[in-house]
Symmetry: C2
Subunit: 480 residues, 2 copies
């Protein structure tokens, strides 16, 4: 029997991942046409990939210190000519020191590491968490992963026992969660974020979703929080995090905190779930000692932006040792995460310190990226504020804005005639008219009756923002 879409794994067929879906594929076709010099019929000269948080595809330059160290890790023979590195290639001595230290701990980056990652790197991560949170962290509970995506995959694979397992996920959400739950044939139990409160978590909404699922017989085991938010750009205040932890503790839910945007915070301060949990434990001795928390981080986002290197980690708090042994076994089947990505995790959690030779440049580059993101977010938000029928919360964190769009009835009819949802229709026309690729709200989930799209604010310049404004006006004029 030949494989067809009717007889292969129906959960693979059912899974949806809009971030790299039809629009993204079409945008890549445009890009190839342009590269081939075959774009005379296109009304734009460039494709702007605002569909995915991929900083280095756009304007963001890698951090010099990171890449200098990585170049030595790839070719340790360079250390035979330290003088040339320093004198002719501008490598500072701390670059060379760090590369030597990593090589002494890692061996060759071409060798498999331990499945949970290089021990010394896990120790570095634990020290970083201690500095960040003010509470100790245990290196043996740190698992290095191929980006946070792979960590989410591992954790959901372990937690989901059968089709009746339910996982509370925010709506809107990053579709990795729904896609993985579909693959695992488990249930996403959606809870709506509150757009009116900067996309914060609303405990009554979470409780209602939980209660409804339990009434229907679902075995709800875990709550996922993405903070700072993707696609929403939210940054949760400590009260929201406390409320979620209280609730999870009451209901015995595993808390999965996706914190990959922890340094992309423009308003207020990032609070890690781990730190808030430890504070709650101090304030309420014994009460939270049964709570299981998994926190995820990544080298793909923040000012590091090393998506292509596929590095990240997750930290487990209070998991049963036998469950941990099964998590170890699961990750060992794929052997280990990319070792150079593990090394970049080490650099992320242990960047040059004040007084070290590479510090000044590192800090300058880091701040430049941060300010650039903030400026572009602000400019984009300002443009949205001026567009008719568009409402958008001010940028608070992550790399995205997620505006509400109100579209005319005729646009909805035209969309239906094409078999599309109105937001998908809008985004497709935007791509065709401007070369700008964004993701329709439908790809993340949205409150019934509302329409959105997600755009990154990574693309440089303001011309593309102008193109969105112009397109939007013409779209409204056409379908009014």
């Amino acid at each position: 029997m030949r494989l067809t879409v009717d007889n292969i794994n129906k959960h693979v067929v059912a899974a949806k991942y809009a971030v790299r879906g039809e629009l993204a594929v079409k945008s890549e076709e445009y890009r190839a046409k342009i590269a081939a010099g075959d774009a005379a019929d296109l009304p734009f000269e460039h494709v702007i990939s605002a569909n995915i948080g991929n900083p280095q595809q756009l304007d963001q330059k890698p951090l010099t210190f990171f890449r200098q160290v990585a170049s030595i890790l790839e070719n340790p023979q360079l250390l035979k000519s330290e003088e040339a590195l320093v004198e002719h290639l501008g490598y500072k001595t701390d670059v060379i020191e760090r590369a030597k230290w990593l090589l002494s701990k890692v061996g060759s980056v071409g060798a498999y590491s331990a499945s949970t990652g290089v021990p010394a790197i896990r120790e570095s991560v634990a020290k970083f968490i201690e500095r960040r949170d003010g509470f100790p962290a245990d290196p043996s509970k740190i698992y290095l992963s191929a980006g946070a995506s792979s960590g989410v995959n591992t954790l959901l694979h372990t937690i989901c026992a059968n089709p009746n397992t339910g996982i509370l996920i925010p709506i809107p959400q990053y579709p990795l969660y729904t896609a993985t739950l579909t693959l695992l044939n488990a249930k996403a139990v959606p809870y709506l974020l509150d757009e009116s409160k900067n996309w914060g978590t609303d405990l009554e909404t979470i409780r209602a979703s939980y209660d409804k699922a339990v009434e229907e017989g679902t075995d709800v085991r875990c709550i996922v929080i993405i903070n700072p938010g993707n696609p929403t750009g939210a940054s949760l205040p400590e009260e929201d995090i406390r409320a979620v932890l209280e609730f999870a503790n009451e209901k015995n839910l595993v808390v999965m905190a996706d914190e990959v945007y922890q340094t992309n915070v423009f308003v207020g301060k990032f609070h890690s779930f781990k730190a808030v949990l430890r504070r709650l434990q101090e304030e309420n001795p014994g009460k939270f000692d049964g709570l299981e928390l998994a926190s995820l981080h990544s080298i793909s986002k923040g000012m590091v932006g090393e998506c292509g290197h596929r590095g990240g980690y997750f930290e487990l708090v209070n998991f049963d040792p036998e469950v941990e042994a099964n998590i170890y076994k699961f990750v060992s089947i794929m052997l280990c995460s990319p070792v150079i990505g593990q090394c970049i995790v080490e650099l992320m959690v242990n960047p040059p310190k004040e007084g070290e030779p590479s510090y000044e440049l590192y800090q300058k580059e880091y701040n430049g990226i941060f300010e650039g993101l903030r400026e572009r977010a602000t400019a984009l938000h300002k443009a949205f504020a001026e567009m008719e029928g568009v409402e958008c919360a001010a940028p608070r964190g992550s790399m995205y804005l997620f505006p509400t769009i109100t579209l005319p009835e005729k646009a909805a009819e035209a969309a239906a005639a094409e078999g599309r949802k109105p937001d998908e229709f809008y985004c497709m026309r935007l791509l065709e008219a401007t070369g700008i690729c964004v993701v329709p709200g439908a790809g993340f989930g949205q409150k019934e009756g509302t329409l959105h799209f997600r755009t990154t604010f990574l693309a440089p310049g303001t011309e593309w923002v102008g193109s969105i404004v112009k397109f939007h006006k013409e779209f409204l004029d056409k379908y009014r």
Copy 2:
């Protein structure tokens, strides 16, 4: 409800992966003890990790050309000082040319690539396959993956539809296959390889396994072949490959050809399933046009040995376009394989050519690794030939020997008293006595009533071979 081993995903709990199991964990504990200077009570001074094909953890040096190019990809700023690279660091001009070309095609190695890989690298892979096979290959059917393991995971996820799906796998096999099938809750349909014929495939055995499974109602969809063999070290003659393809065609089975050891061949010549299929198609017009073939390759093995970089690819032949679209979607959920690993795939399939500046050194290093492996394989095989109760086929391919061991009845009793299988017991004692970590045959599957272990022949020197001989004699003496 707290997560416990009794309520998490039972398929994760049931999965087995001996290559990184109890023995490997224990060997890492020994390694840590030795590193901490706390090894006075151990009867050995080093741990020899012969449990896993991890060349660069042992003696194998990375290929200079590959790592020089990779260092520039990691730090393109080096190109600002080309003169220094050439004059002070010994980079040849073709290193610089290749790095520039890859950067022009890839952009930053820190950016996500297309989910199936960088288009230019897929084209390079297709050209390599054409040169290797003498038949055309289509770049759009090449999927770059994070090692071959990730490719196997993708393919089995797609093919396995429900608990009744059966996949024919060789016994002994690389346990990635059984582990993944257990995770997917699908059926491994084992077929025994023929130890008496250098671990070749025996069609009657395959047919009998298939018939039995079909009689039991299993929906057998696919046959996996590992060639050169892991753990067996076999290298299949063309007749065996033809017979498998004829059978798969007769029964409408997808053929999954795991060819990651294709350059590790000591006897005869490697025949790719793709080339043999194309020859069959030429000889029998029309007859094989419905056959679906997936072939996998990797940068982890061969003379490249870049396991830690997690690179590889699979090529699909004759898959339904809608099935391919679902494979695309599945890989897109994890975004892309590590981009520097993709670049090393490009270097593997397109190494320096005769007349190019880096060719001589590349060829010298390549041949040195190949000959070193052959010599160590031969030395190890010779030692096994002299050991009482040990039988081992001569090394033909891959990185492993898989000797049969015959153990005294008393050893089996002692093993049972510890709750272990006799081969596990033997391997555990070997590790404790010598620091040498091998994998018991039980981890791969073996014919009932036989016992084996798998060892790589990567470790340098002959001292460790002597330690095995000595241990074996003492073991036999003790339990005789």
